[in-house]
Amino acid sequence: MVDVVVIGGGPAGMSASLKAKQQGASVLLIDSEPRLGGILNQCIHNGFGLKHFKEELTGPEYASRLEKEVKEAGIEIMLNSYVNFIQKNMVYVITPNGQEKIDCKAIVLCAGARERSAGEIYLKGKRLAGVYTAGSVQKMINFYGKLPGKRAVILGSGDIGLIMARRLTLEGVKVEAVLEIMEHSSGLRRNIRQCIEDFNIPLKFSHTVTRVVGKDRVEGVYYAQVDENRKPILSTEKLLECDCLLLSVGLIPENSLLPESVKRNKFVIVDDERQTSEEGIFISGNVLHIHDLADNATEEGEIAGKFAGLYSQGKLEKFDKVNLSFSKNISYCMPSLINKKNEGKFTIYMRANANFLKKNILVKCGNEVIAKKFCIGITTGEMQEIEVEYSKVKDDIFVDIEE
């Protein structure tokens, strides 16, 4: 019997464990890999930690900082262990030696995300060796020192795609092009600068791969410009010779472990404490929604861990909840339920539906503006956040981006 089981030892899971422990709870942290850190271990580039550690770190450094804290805090760690099934107060684990049932009082799911596959985007043509998700190539190069080919095309300009364009180039692979179906990149601006422009890699917006060709391995891809409905314009189709195609076409929260009864809309519905509709099951990090930065996932893990720790000891105070809704300028907000507390602050995270220049993010309760933040530039690729005081939340709240 343990108070809190945290599933997933990436940044969210480690910080959740730490915070739960700080509340006085006993904590078991489970990960399916032989080490903590999750995907951070393969993200060997720098740019992590400015927010959380106030210092620029590489992925593995960021992971080992948190790991050190976890170990010093005396958190129990279970590695190489796959959580098969969860229900309230119960976690079923498959360890290398067999199955185990673990009783607990609260669960924090921090299982991260997976990459969208070729099948999920209906990639046409052959299913050949040489078509990989960007993340698996990242692991191929950074863990094993192997290469996916000599001439690469990258589909999708999210951050992983951009980072891999640079990584491949530095390892001697020629990146023939990065193709992006949208009119803009969903990656960070600085990554376009330092990963693409630094190496003069062609980045083609409004373009996609129409066909993968080859016999045993990829020998080329056909690509074309897309129209406003993102359908390829076949008259623009061209062949690009290459021997591998990397897919960086989005991350999908890996939340299949959650019981069916947990309420969802586009995402799993959580309150500001990151508790799901099933009491005692909390969720944070990329398994909830996709974060731009490990630092943000860490921060969210802390929220979930703290309240799971309190809950597990019967110390979590209950409040009435209000709903959070948002305008059509916003694609989603996190969280979607707010506890009506009397003091302190909470943060609303959101992604915009379009790019905006010099706009305000407004949080309204009825007609009253209860929080306001001016932003010079808002892009679809970058998560926005705004702090709100609990005491101002009297009723349902509404978030908007406007003049």
Partner: protein, 113 residues
């Protein structure tokens, strides 16, 4: 010139120009951005990260500071020559890489990869 600051995820849009022999940076929102802008105008530098797999252990590495952009490929070739064994996180494995004034340090040790 116009560029994007790479110091942090905000990615400020910088305008850098030389006025009366002095490099001026605008658009930055912190002092790091200003310093970056000046270097970018005169001699662009980047931090290099890479990894070395020894068969059983993978070491991830970085330069302790940014190095001249045009030296990135020479630097990575130099690092790949390393035969690493029994190093720990934080150990310096190359001192003064290619006389660029930076060291190469271990950022991660991955066993059982």
């Amino acid at each position: 010139m116009e560029t994007v600051c790479i110091c942090c995820p905000i990615g400020c849009r910088l305008k850098i120009e030389k006025v009366d022999g002095e490099v001026r940076v605008s658009g930055n929102s912190c002092p790091r951005g200003k310093a970056y802008g000046i270097t970018e105008y005169t001699s662009p530098k980047r931090v290099l990260t890479t990894s070395v797999n020894t068969g059983t252990v993978t070491y991830t590495l970085k330069t302790t500071d940014a190095i001249l952009k045009e030296k990135l490929f020479d630097a990575i070739a130099e690092i790949k020559k390393l035969k690493l064994k029994n190093y720990n996180l934080g150990d310096i494995v190359i001192k003064n890489l290619l006389n660029l004034g930076v060291d190469v340090v271990i950022t991660g040790v991955l066993k059982e990869v």
